[in-house]
Amino acid sequence: MSHAKPMTTSTATTLAAQSGSRVEYGPWLRAWKKLSRNRMALAGLYIILFFIFLAIFAPWVSPDDPLATNWGAIRKPPGMEHWFGTDELGRDVLSRVIWGARASLLAGIVSVAISLVLGILIGMLAGYFGGIVDALICRMTDAFLACPFLILAIALAAFLGPNLTNAMIAIGVSAAPIFVRLTRAQVLNVKVEDYIEAARAIGCSPMRIAQSHLLPNITPPLIVQSTLAIASAVIAEASLSFLGLGQQPPEPSWGSMLNTAKNFMEDAPWMAVWPGLAIFVLVLAFNLLGDGLRDALDPRSR
């Protein structure tokens, strides 16, 4: 981990630089300092960066082609040649786990991006305009939340058709209500502040108020929620792929690898161990970082 130190400082500078233009310099740097003292959160961050590295550089990092079958090496236990063993078609499990990081990270990030966009737009509408718009949106959010998350995602993926893109849409839409609620609650808190009143008095349009006064104020809780939501989205994608509703074989994905592994538990238990472990470690990392961010960004715990 010798490269770890410079990376920390550079991330700090970018964070500070980004925030310098619009938001106050102070709070973000303070949050970063607090986060960098939290060893568990940093461990989470490094693990996530490691997986991102694997996903981006998969073609160079993985020892084998993840799709190359080898009839001479079917279900070989882990050894010098294949560190994680091979699967039922003689494919290298380590290579498939490395390539699988792509599907998982992509699904985690894209589906949360969908939730965020939907959640912020709809939540702001509800919080800012209130009245009948708010009442309607709230009832609709309740309806979405009344359907258990994964069951709703399964139904959406089923009606949209089983593939990775639709799985990401299904997860993103199913998880959006939480962001609607969060944004709405934050907007209701902020909207009564004097500076919003002032902005309105000098004739700012609702769009401009939303962009430059509401959004920066509701960002910290959204960052925390997004990090934790990526954790559940990664599990959700793995679950959908496990059920056959996500990434379709032969493309590598941790969930679908586990689905296949289920049929070979007696002769090839290693096939079931590695993809699951990868999901666990990545999700744990996002949860650790999310918890750390919550502590770091909470203004009450300064």
Partner: protein, 314 residues
């Protein structure tokens, strides 16, 4: 009390209406002619014509929704294109299996989470507290279907103690039923115990700093009586409401767990329906799950009201 009950019940109506719209709307996501798709593999013109008429496809969307809703309110959730059985009948057949799994999982979840929550609240900063928190964090991060696979590897493949699959009805043979259910229930139970433990811990810590707990200690009661008799009873009330929200996790988790352990509950029903393009069954399962979830939360709210005397007399 009665007024509260009525108010709460009335507030559910709009949610239920929107849930029904959402589930009806799923159909609109299907590309092309719904009747043709709903007919599945059997593409006979008669069936398609029958479905088209049954779904009132010549009518505008809102009218179709009301026809559909009318059916649903009369218990008609459509019929399975595969088995021609009414969807409601199929679901009612499978529901007891999932209900047993959910009940056993809840029991295991509570047996783990409440003692763990109490210990970590009473002894904060100790080994037990860190242990319980590490458990909760891993419980939140582990994909539970993988945990199920690992348990099968250990207890069925390696040790041969428990069956990996093979559900038996409890009325047929209770022992075999429990043997087949213990692993899936444990997998699901640990899944919800992580969140329940965190709730118990924070609620317990709050209660332990209350004045009446200090009074109880001051009059010389043993710590055991203070914690288990005075504090726990009040600490558990918020856990009821928050715990009810975990029922959703339980229902979602049941789908995966049933798939891993080949349990013929409604989780397996929805997945089989998805792959058979039996869309009416998919809609039916979502509708029933959402309704069950809403009703269970209503019951939890009422239980909260009953167990909390301050609300009762207000």
């Amino acid at each position: 009390m009665f007024a509260f009950f009525i108010r709460r019940l009335v507030s559910l109506l709009p949610t239920l209406v929107f849930v029904s719209m959402l589930i009806f709307g799923l159909q609109q996501l299907l590309p092309g002619d719904p009747a043709q798709i709903l007919a599945g593999e059997d593409q006979s013109p008669e069936l398609i014509a029958h479905l088209r008429e049954k779904m009132h496809l010549d009518q505008p969307l809102p009218v179709r929704y009301f026809y559909w809703l009318e059916g649903v309110l009369h218990g008609d959730l459509g019929e399975s294109v595969r088995t021609q059985q009414p969807v409601l009948e199929l679901i009612l057949q499978k529901l007891p299996v999932t209900a047993e799994l959910a009940l056993l999982s809840m029991l295991i979840g509570l047996l783990i989470s409440i003692p763990a929550g109490i210990i970590s609240a009473v002894r904060p900063g100790t080994f037990w507290d860190y242990g319980a928190n590490a458990f909760a964090l891993s419980g939140l991060s582990v994909p539970h279907f993988w945990l199920g696979i690992l348990m099968i590897l250990l207890f069925s493949v390696e040790l041969g103690w428990l069956p990996a699959s093979g559900y038996v009805s409890p009325f047929e043979n209770l022992r075999e039923n429990l043997a087949a259910m213990v692993m899936p229930a444990f997998v699901l139970g640990t899944g919800i115990s992580a969140v329940l433990m965190r709730h118990t811990r924070s609620s317990m810590m709050q209660v332990l700093s209350a004045d009446y707990v200090r009074t109880a200690r001051a009059k010389g009661l043993s710590e055991r009586v203070v914690v288990l008799k005075h504090a726990l009873r009040n600490a558990l009330t918020p856990v009821i409401t928050l715990g009810a929200l975990e029922l959703g996790t339980l229902l979602s988790g049941a789908v995966l767990t049933e798939q891993v352990f080949t349990i013929p509950g409604f989780g397996k029903l929805i997945i089989d329906a998805v792959f058979n393009r039996d869309y009416a069954v998919v809609q039916g399962v979502v509708l029933v799950t959402a309704t069950v979830y809403i009703l269970l939360n209503l019951m939890a709210d009422i239980a909260y009201f009953v167990f909390n005397p301050r609300l009762r007399h207000a």
